[in-house]
């Protein structure tokens, strides 16, 4: 007879909530690695961007361990939460900028940037308005679709292509790869949303929640898988053609398009790929907005009823500013996200307190 005591039911519920949260962090990490790789990595080291992006994986592992430490501590950390709120807000803007670039290049080439930005922001805001748990659960529900779908569609899109697109392995040189790797460390930043407990566990008392929190390995392999998918997508982009083709692509959105140089750029496979890429970026934007609102309420409890509208308003303002200054401004600032991420990670190392 299965054990259905109230304690085991609560423990299962806590574990399920953390599982959903870990999937959300994995999807956000993969999307961030992909967006940063196409925006910054490819501009610096062309076809070796996937190699530079691999440097983000150890950073993902380290931040996961630090976030888990923060998760299992009951010590209040207003400074850390404030820093997390700012970081998540900036990540949301970055994800939306990537989505706008992708849409402008592929789905809506004749639309204006401001129209695409408005639509993307509204779609992300609508996802947030109906509850934070829903976005995470949607990512959990789509975990196999995203992973297997992307892998299958990449393989289909690149069938018959040789591996010569990956060569020379170091692209323009080891120095450029090292510089790109440094910039790509910011791709690990979304992992820090694991430092915030899932919102649906708010009504469970802290001692019970802390007691049922899984170990770091529970989160680690999921986050690393998400990051690895981002790295593999970058490798697939390199396989699509010679490094000279990447050097010719000046637009961020152009670099995100996965198609064989000698193959069709439109069709069922490319459309399906675009939908999955756009969905991952949109969900990343929504999830990081929600995490930002949660961190803001934890840092400033008086702001709790207004946390989400404040985050949405700030996001809309920043995105509007980017539309007018140019989306490429995002790419110059994106590598600097590793600084607040490192600071927040360091703050997770504070003295742990048990309830």
């Amino acid at each position: 007879m299965p054990n259905t005591t109230p304690e085991s039911v609560v423990a299962a519920r806590i574990r399920a909530a953390y599982r959903v949260r870990a999937c959300a962090a994995a999807v956000c990490t993969g999307a961030a690695v992909f967006a940063l790789g196409t925006g910054v990595g490819m501009a610096i080291c062309l076809n070796a961007a996937w190699l530079a992006a691999a440097a983000a994986l150890p950073a993902c592992a380290l931040l996961t361990l630090l976030a888990h430490r923060a998760l299992t501590s009951s010590r209040p950390a207003r400074l850390r939460n404030a820093l997390l709120a700012a970081l998540m807000l900036l990540l949301a803007v970055f994800a939306l900028a990537a989505l706008v670039s992708l849409a402008k290049q592929t789905m809506l080439p004749h639309a204006t940037i401001s129209y695409i930005a408005r639509t993307s922001f509204l779609m992300a805001a609508l996802c947030c308005a109906f509850g934070g748990a829903g976005v995470s659960r949607l990512m959990f529900a789509l975990r196999f679709v995203l992973v297997l779908g992307l892998a299958a569609l990449c393989a289909l899109s690149l069938r018959g292509e040789s591996a010569s697109g990956l060569f020379p392995l170091l692209g323009p040189g080891a120095r450029q790869v090292a510089l790109a790797a440094l910039c790509m460390l910011a791709g690990a930043a979304p992992v820090l949303l694991l430092a915030l407990p899932p919102a649906e566990l708010a009504e469970i008392d802290e001692a019970t929640r802390l007691g049922a929190t899984p170990g770091p390995g529970f989160f680690l392999w999921r986050v690393l898988l998400g990051g690895a998918i981002g790295v593999l997508l970058l490798a697939a982009l390199s396989l699509g053609g010679p490094y000279e083709r990447i050097a010719q692509e000046t637009s961020w959105g152009q670099r995100m398009l996965l198609a064989r140089a000698s193959g069709p750029r439109a069709g069922g496979t490319q459309t399906a790929l675009l939908i999955l890429q756009a969905a991952a970026l949109l969900l990343c934007a929504a999830q990081t907005m929600l995490a930002g609102a949660q961190a803001l309420s934890a840092a400033l409890p008086r702001l709790q009823p207004f946390a989400l509208p404040v985050v949405l308003a700030l996001c809309a303002g920043l995105l509007t500013a980017l539309v007018y200054t140019g989306l490429e401004t995002t790419l110059r600032a994106a590598p600097l996200l590793s600084l607040p991420a490192a600071a927040a990670g360091a703050l997770c190392l504070g003295r742990r307190e048990s309830p």
């Binding site: 062309l46 809506l108 080439p109 004749h110 639309a111 204006t112 129209y115 695409i116 408005r118 639509t119 509204l122 779609m123 805001a125 609508l126 308005a129 109906f130 040789s162 010569s164 060569f167 020379p168 392995l169 170091l170 692209g171 323009p172 040189g173 080891a174 053609g241 010679p242 490094y243 000279e244 083709r245 010719q248 140089a261 000698s262 193959g263 069709p264 750029r265 439109a266 009823p305 989400l308 509208p309």
Partner: protein
């Protein structure tokens, strides 16, 4: 509070996303089916397009005084000449300093904007293809006018504008469909290169590890059957085939590029061997001696690059199964294999002499280099020209 926020966001979404995205009406577009580029006498370019006219009547020719024409010695752009063509299509041409300017001029002088999304064919004159301007022209067409990346690039020794004027849909089908079927047909025969699409040609021209090939075509100038030596009908170039044809243009063989410049041609037979070595000869036919064979799907090809004493050896091995489809088999499988080896060697030597790496051995050579500066300093182009060649073939006749 939450429901109020939801309601506000929904209303805002309805109002803001309904404000339009800058789309274009279909009727305002001039859909181009074929595009031709020729050099003009004073260094500018003449772009000729054959497009959907939007009506079923043939376009009436405009008189010389109605259209701006280019006087001798004047470098001002000219545009707008239309000619009578078959119902449903119109041919327009414009001359300007660059391909982009000529296309912009066509858009400005017609009531509709040029749209290359339905483009099926880009024809370049051979004179132009032998210059470095080819890549710039193709890039402009691809990037700025969102041309159909699957449009086939064709090189002709004739005037490219006349080439597309001579072309018309046969058997009552639309011109766009006719061109698709035409290229599929010749691809099945294996006598045109497999990767002659616009995106593939641009990618190969930009790449330092492989070179591009376009379809070679010319006017069918022969009115009577004529024997031209012992060569097979497909071992010639278009315009020299010993037969008549209802089509005014013939497609046969490849225009070979080294970088962005055309450096030579391959006959139909040579193109078939090229496709076989490149692993692109599935379900095609090949003529050997007096017989024509159908190659089955069990073709296995392998390209290798070995280094012996610092000298590269280009290797190509082919293992094919074929069935006699026409003519009389006069050679055994072993003799056919030796002939294939010899033909493949001759082809590779010809490509080496032209300095064109159509097979893509550079893709194997680049793996030895750690980074791009090392690859660019490796001197592959010189090494390729002087490399040894080794070919092996195994044939099974069903």
């Amino acid at each position: 509070m939450k429901r109020a926020l939801e309601a506000v966001l929904l209303i805002a979404a309805l109002l803001l996303t309904g404000s339009g995205g800058g789309g274009r009406e279909i009727e305002s577009c001039l859909f181009v089916i074929a595009l031709a580029v020729d050099p003009a006498p004073d260094g500018s370019l003449t772009v000729t397009v054959k497009a959907l006219s939007g009506t079923q009547e043939a376009a009436a020719p405009q008189s010389g005084e109605d259209t701006p024409s280019q006087e001798e010695g004047q470098s001002a752009p000219s545009a707008g000449q239309t000619e009578t063509v078959e119902p449903g299509y119109v041919t327009l041409s414009a001359t300007a300093d660059s391909c982009l300017s000529a296309l912009n001029l066509l858009s400005a002088t017609t009531p509709r904007s040029v749209d290359l999304s339905q483009l099926r064919e880009i024809v370049l004159s051979e004179t132009l293809a032998q210059t470095d301007a080819t890549l710039t022209i193709l890039r402009q067409i691809d990037a700025l006018y969102e041309a159909n990346a699957g449009a086939i690039v064709v090189v002709t020794p004739d005037d490219a504008g006349d080439f597309i004027r001579r072309q018309y849909a046969m058997f009552g089908v639309r011109l766009s469909q006719y061109l698709e079927v035409l290229f599929d047909h010749f691809a099945q025969l294996g006598t045109i290169p497999a990767n002659a699409k616009l995106s593939a040609v641009i990618s190969a021209m930009e790449s330092s590890t492989a070179d591009a090939a376009a379809v070679y075509a010319a006017g069918n100038a022969f009115d009577a059957t004529l024997l031209l030596g012992d060569a097979s009908p497909t071992d010639r170039l278009p315009g020299h085939l010993p037969r008549t044809s209802p089509a005014k243009n013939e497609y046969l063989g490849s225009a070979v590029f080294s970088g962005a410049r055309m450096v030579g041609t391959l006959t139909g037979d040579e193109t078939a061997i090229l496709r076989m070595i490149s692993g692109q000869a599935l379900n095609t036919s090949i003529s050997m001696g007096e017989a024509i064979y159908q190659i089955s799907v069990h073709t296995r090809t392998r390209r290798t690059l070995d280094w012996v004493g610092g000298v590269p050896v280009l290797g190509a091995s082919v293992s094919i199964r074929m069935a006699l489809s026409a003519g009389t088999q006069q050679q055994t499988a072993a003799e056919l294999a030796r002939q294939l080896e010899s033909d493949a060697q001759q082809l590779l030597r010809k490509l080496q002499a032209m300095g064109s790496d159509l097979i893509g051995y550079g893709r194997l050579a680049v793996r030895r280099c750690a980074d791009i500066p090392a690859w660019e300093a490796s001197g592959w182009e010189t090494a390729y020209r002087t490399a040894n060649v080794r070919t092996t073939a195994r044939v099974r006749i069903q």
